[in-house]
Subunit: 459 residues, 2 copies
């Protein structure tokens, strides 16, 4: 009979091979192109295969090298989207999390892991100036924003039992796509999400917010929540959190802050992000600006009772049989997931290995890199900065080229990876710094690569 069990000796050898692959990959990062030479045809030919009846044994590990050749590496010269750099101690944490295979649904199922997740969530809350908030880790900003808005709805116009009633949510036109997606999923309807105008620094205008709420009230609509953004994904703008919080309070609305990208910059810039503490719920993403491997998002909130009212639907078969508060605690009663990965272990190891100061300094350096790029762009006659730099996202364009073609050329050259954005209807090149491996030379390479690619397009 076939067995899934592996002898300790064979497993030991496989584990050594896997860790050697990991080490070799990390050591190779500096020499890898910022984007692989590959195509859909190639990856399909390599990786579309059936699941064979017979096992391949240890040779399957050799696929890893093939995968790395068709993967985007987390080098210091990857500046696309908001892509954290994958801190290696965090990756070792993910190994050990899967070895332990805890289900962090409740203390009962995972005593140490649940306690560690609660501790780590407390660290994150304190790091962003929200001491006393609790919450949970999740897959990322999309899930955190979905949970925050679910809590808003249940707090203001309960729908769990009776279904969603018509209500209105407010955000700026720069809000992340996960917010309309959440509004749609929750049955609120995207047409009931007001996407409001921003000022010239891409921040939600409090006057426009107030006017929209008043207009809705006059029309007989029911406002329930405001989503403010701390670090818009395009330009890193931080909505005026204090003024928005005043409106939320005066109007009796839930304030959800999407700090998926920018929230954790509070470690380095506490004044700039002091308004986070006004939130009823707040998304932050350790897999972005704490450099952790995907996935690791976090929703923080002020009132756990609202989380329980929103997410607790417990069956007998998992009912907690303890009266002791720590032992009776269940993450699955405060979040979407039931089976939950031990995401906290990577944070526990990585954050303590390096210490808080090292993370603060790394964020400071990212912010400095963004200013360096902005200064270089501003100083270059062929380049134009397209948005103020609030955090670490820099949007710019070449004045005399088709910037879409230019971006493709930059990526194809393989030295730096940029992504794109739309600013006032213009196609923008965009670099975002949330990468502990990036050096000043890497930043300077952005400008030289864009200029070199522009020269190629010219020729």
């Amino acid at each position: 009979m076939m067995e899934l069990e592996i002898s300790n000796q064979e497993l030991s050898q496989l584990a050594d091979e896997a860790i050697d692959l990991a080490k070799a990959y990390w050591a190779s990062l500096d020499h890898r192109p910022s984007y692989p030479t590959t195509s859909g045809e190639q990856t399909a030919a390599l990786f579309s295969r059936p699941w064979a009846e017979e096992g391949l044994g240890g040779s399957v590990l050799q696929d890893f090298k093939l995968i790395t050749e068709h993967a985007r590496p987390s080098t210091g010269r990857f500046f696309g989207y908001v892509a954290g750099s994958g801190e290696p101690i965090g990756a070792l944490g993910d190994l050990l999390a899967s070895v332990l295979n805890q289900n962090v649904g409740a203390w009962r199922s995972a005593p140490a892991a649940t306690t560690i997740e609660r501790a780590v969530v407390g660290w994150l809350a304190e790091a962003v100036g929200c001491r006393g908030f609790t919450g949970s880790l999740c897959g990322g900003g999309s899930t955190a924003n979905l949970m925050g808005l679910a809590m808003a709805r249940e707090a203001k116009l309960p729908a769990n039992e009776t279904g969603a009633s018509r209500c209105v949510v407010y955000a700026s036109e720069q809000v992340h796509m996960s917010v309309p997606k959440a509004v749609a999923l929750l049955g609120i309807g995207r047409q009931n999400l007001r996407l409001l105008p921003v000022d010239n620094a891409f921040r939600l205008r409090p006057d426009a917010l107030q006017a929209a709420i008043s207009a809705d009230r006059q029309a007989g609509n029911t406002p329930i929540a405001i989503v403010a953004t701390a670090g818009t994904v395009v330009s890193g703008a931080i909505d005026p959190l204090g003024a928005i919080a005043d409106t939320a309070r005066n109007e009796g609305l839930w304030l959800h802050v999407d700090g998926s990208y920018g929230g954790l910059a509070a470690l380095a810039e506490p004044q700039k992000l002091s308004g986070l503490a006004h939130a009823n719920s707040l998304s932050v993403d350790p897999h972005k600006w704490l450099y952790q491997p995907i996935d690791c998002g976090c929703l923080l909130y002020r009132d756990p009772q609202v989380a329980r009212a929103t997410f607790s639907h417990t069956d007998d078969y998992v009912r907690i049989l303890s009266d002791e508060p720590t032992e009776a605690f269940a993450f699955f009663e405060e979040s979407v997931e039931l089976s939950r990965r031990f995401r906290a272990l990577k944070l526990w190891l990585s954050l303590q290995y390096h210490g808080r100061m090292a993370f603060r300094e790394a964020i400071v350096r990212d912010l400095r890199h963004a200013r360096l790029l902005a200064d270089m762009v501003s100083a270059h006659p062929d380049l134009e900065l397209l948005a103020p730099v609030s955090l670490s996202a820099v949007c710019f364009r070449h004045r005399a080229r088709d910037n879409h073609a230019l971006l493709k050329r930059v990526i194809a050259r393989g030295h730096v990876f940029l992504s794109n954005a739309t600013i006032h209807g213009q196609f923008a090149l965009r670099a975002c710094f949330v990468n502990h491996r990036t050096t000043g030379d890497d930043v300077r390479a952005i400008v030289s690569e864009v200029v070199a690619a522009a020269d190629e397009l010219d020729g």
Copy 2:
């Protein structure tokens, strides 16, 4: 200045230490108690600490041993809930996934990883008799059921733009708690989920289903979806999928099948689960009955256009700039998440390392273990089987003891771990076999431990 960067030499040493911890833990599994000696007070004292300014360096890895002492191990004698056993090659896959740190949102962001996830999803579809279905991996059954019901709603009574209209969903009273939770989140309202009666084998009664739909239509309500269960969490019952599919077809309703627990048993029992192919959407959980480390769920579906209509809300900043179909593919347009972990790598390595036959045999053995326990319970004068055994969950009780107290005693003895369920209002002991490490002796230990614990209660 503090740096997050670690030298290759230091990282190599840490990686060796981490993999040694993993190996030692795996080697220790057979000798660990099925539940740790711990308390909320103890775990709080050990793991509630602040995030220090200064880094601790490599010594933080030593926490791992402490964590294992307050964690539930995946031994062969853990029979609670539906807890997969954490196949070690899968854990090595999770290491390498975090080392690579791909964002499997789209081919463009992760060419090899996206191609591999599409391949692996195809394997799962074929394994459960649903060749041609596509889908995506996710965190688990709760998310998969949420996505399946979101697709049902968007297919039958679109709500993304305008908000949820009143509609009705049908399931049996044995449906998993994630379904009412999903119905609540989607704004449908739990009062619009009809929890229908089951037969004496805990299967949804098709006559009750048809009657409920007819009654709703007569009352002017709008049925949209039926949730059938392939493996109820309490007793493993499989709803009559063929008859339910007929009703769904005749009534024009979406059929979502929750196969989170039982779906993958189709590898071993294809006839018993042949009805899965009738589903419009189907949840299966590789972290349950393919023994993978948490987290790894999967939603399969027949029509990807419905997934795109439900989940595609794409901003310019991530808009795909390719026309080639493989390269233009984006998981984030067919699922809830935007940043997505490379969950497919553990499946790619583990499933190919062992081969399909070995997984089939492991499931066969789980099914055999359940029948062995059921036979032993039936043969024992003090024990009573409380539900038919369809798959690998066995619910039973001691005829002459307070079974709640008995369960606590069994767990405290530390030799086997059982969980509980409610059957016809009675507190039941419950053992579930989805564990490749379990032996026949481990199964026999369940009966001897329950009897020994009963004797202790007696004394």
